[in-house]
Symmetry: none
Subunit: 439 residues, 2 copies
């Protein structure tokens, strides 16, 4: 068979041959006292000769180093190689129906082995095809909306995505999964949280930190977890589902307004800030464990509020020592209607910015304060700096994430430019953007 042990050579090839294993077999590997079971998958042309690559039941790929004591057993021979072109499985009766919207990103990409770079490539149905476990969870309708790395998505994309989702809410779906690049997934999650309020079903964003054709890809496990949440979670909110830590089996479910990418490359990069994750997914048990009782419940008769517009003349300014106050003047001159400051500590900026901030506010610009600390809440009553900033009209935004505050202000200003209404909306807890305990 052509794909018998594709890509394997040296020691790795030797031990696999001795075990009579071929690509696609379900094998057991015992090495250094640990036991791993999964499907033997092929290696790429760049592979070394010391590792065996298997896909665990959780969908996670791991590379196992061949050492002297390694033992390999074939548990189940597969009759066909895993290289079969993906086919959409037939609908199974009794399973919930979900939609999978592809926007691009690593989860929908493959490695270009010529340049070594990752390019957006896989379609939603490709993804579905290469992760057959999905067909046991739900009947999945797929749609390719964009094919962009998420750093290229703008508020215009958020709008299109929100409208696409809103239309799907009229269909009989158990949930919606959105495959998305991880770079700005937190921003999009916040945007959808405001654009689609009180949805009847879960809206689940999912990405991956390593592309699906690479060893140790988290694409399959994350998609399986997202499909589980979309199919049967009791909550109906906009959430992000990604790996929680070092365990292959546990994913965290983060509320869309409280989540942030906090590592450039780890698969557990996404963190809920100032709150616990809403739930965890235990992959090997197909189970969703709730971590909070405060959520909006799934209810198919709910009528969501759809407001998909975002006003783009809003900026996020991270303060730094010596920042030139003319930057603020420039935004006002350009017709910006909102500024989110990422101040220091409890919500401060240098006193040399006060005059420009006052001018901005007096001319009708909303200025809100968040903290570059990321964790904790602003409190502008403790120090004189904070009191002075409040006196000129800067609005403290409690523990709202800077990124969420930016997105929310874009959304609020699309509803109204009236400063009083904007203030009121910015201080209302619309989509869990404030942690109730700390507000």
């Amino acid at each position: 068979m052509a794909f018998e042990l594709t890509g394997y050579r040296g020691d790795a090839l030797k031990v696999l041959k001795e075990a009579h294993a071929t690509i696609g077999d379900y094998i057991r590997v015992i090495v250094n006292g640990n036991i791993y079971e999964g499907i033997l998958i092929p290696r790429t042309e760049y592979a070394d000769d010391k590792h065996i690559l298997i896909k665990l039941k959780s969908g996670y790929n791991i590379g196992l180093r061949v050492s002297s004591g390694i033992r390999i057993e074939v548990i189940r021979h597969e009759s066909k190689p895993t290289f079969t072109p993906p086919k959409l499985p037939e609908e199974k009766e009794g399973l919930p129906k979900i939609a999978l919207i592809s926007t691009g990103g690593t989860i929908a990409s493959k490695v270009d082995y010529r340049t070594g770079a990752v390019e957006p490539a896989l379609t939603a149905s490709d993804l579905y095809g290469i992760i057959p476990e999905l067909s046991e969870i739900a009947n999945i309708k797929t749609e390719i909306l964009f094919s962009e790395f998420s750093e290229n998505l703008t508020p215009q994309h958020w709008k299109k995505l929100a409208i696409t989702i809103a239309n799907m809410l009229n269909e009989d779906l158990a949930g919606i999964v959105i495959a998305h690049g991880t770079d700005t997934m937190g921003y999009t999650a916040a945007a959808l949280s405001f654009a689609i309020q009180d949805p009847p079903i879960p809206i689940v964003l999912v990405g991956s930190q390593r592309s699906s054709d690479r060893p140790s890809s988290d694409a399959a496990s994350n998609l399986i977890g997202a499909a589980l949440v979309a199919s049967k979670a009791p909550f109906a909110e906009v959430v992000v589902v990604m790996h929680d830590g070092l365990s292959d089996e546990i994913l965290a479910v983060h509320r869309g307004t409280k989540v942030r990418k906090c590592h450039t490359s780890r698969r557990d990069a996404f963190k809920s800030i100032n709150i616990n994750p809403l739930a965890y997914v235990v992959l090997n048990e197909g189970k969703i464990e709730l971590w909070s009782q405060e959520f909006k419940p799934r209810n198919s008769s709910k009528k969501p509020i759809i407001k998909p517009d975002f006003y783009e003349k809003v900026t996020l300014l991270k303060f730094y020592p010596g920042m030139d106050s003319k930057i603020i003047d420039w935004f006002v001159e350009q017709g910006y209607k909102g500024i989110i400051l990422e101040g220091t500590g409890l919500g401060h900026v240098g006193k040399y910015l006060l005059n420009s901030l006052k001018k901005a506010i007096d001319s009708g610009v909303f200025v809100g304060m968040t903290s570059q600390c990321i964790w904790g809440s602003v409190n502008m009553n403790v120090y004189n700096t904070g009191r002075d900033l409040q006196a000129i009209g800067v609005i403290p935004l409690s523990d709202m994430l800077p990124e969420t505050a930016l997105v929310k202000l874009m959304w609020v200003l699309a509803q109204s430019k009236d400063l009083d209404k904007v203030k009121q909306a910015m201080l209302s807890n619309i989509a869990g953007e404030f942690s109730l305990k700390r507000f």
Copy 2:
């Protein structure tokens, strides 16, 4: 003892008690066939009751879920906390001499009980007076340089501070302590790390999160710890000394270029990013425990390099979806010579910024890339976006913190405006701003 298992409850508390573990112990946890070893660290008041939190040797904290088969063993008990002020020889003649420079901030402030606000008030000698323990550690010379909250400090203040310190290096001092507001202490620490290279003695920044006349102030413990480090640490670097966690007795010593304020209000707000702290101070034993062997040693005969200037036409831009490329054009028009981008993920910005960035670089502006993820390293070879940005001349800055990159670029541009020299300097590891392991 009050802080024995701070923050733990429910199942997590139960299994830790059964293992006779306390906060700070080096423990082994075996769960789901995986083995983890690290220091048991306290949980916050908002923690759930199902996870045990340990700090791995890598410096990364992980939460381990308590499941039925979990096994916990204490490998090494840590010394038990009791708040005894450090005991030192009665003869003050034999004590080292250190300087305490006050710049303002909470550590040098008191509450205005009329308004409830905190104001800068205490002088360096006041501080010395209200913390008698200091007199047992060192003979201390005090100087008030500024009386400003740190959000008001600018690169001009960094210069004055660097010159003041440089002059003191000619005196016979064991170390220098700088009392500083916490808001921008990370920025100042980075600035001093570049301005004073290879100092003969430790230069220790210290602040507090609660003012010294308040109950639960961390001002005294932090100052005592800073004085200990200044007096007898084996390393001679610019460092930040602040509480490490919920234990009253343990302070962390962070390298000046790798530290960041990561919480608005907690006393353990400061974190070393991508590396371990350089050392810990065990207050009740008056001891400094090294956590790294890679440091510049104390050596009174060393001649430091003093370069106290900073060029201010440098900006830090945090990218967000839809960011207007005209912002970049404006900085170029204003004569800015450097831009540090805080991009997404591995170091990306939207493709709609490419033209303006190219124009900026072509006109001689240095553009460097860091990540708003905070943790991890940029890697602009993985995705096409990163490769495109490199092709127009954007320089990836590995795992340098965005704030440190800004300060470093201000410092580098004060030495030379030649773009090649600037690039070379930005990519050199001058003061530990790159983690060697990851570079």
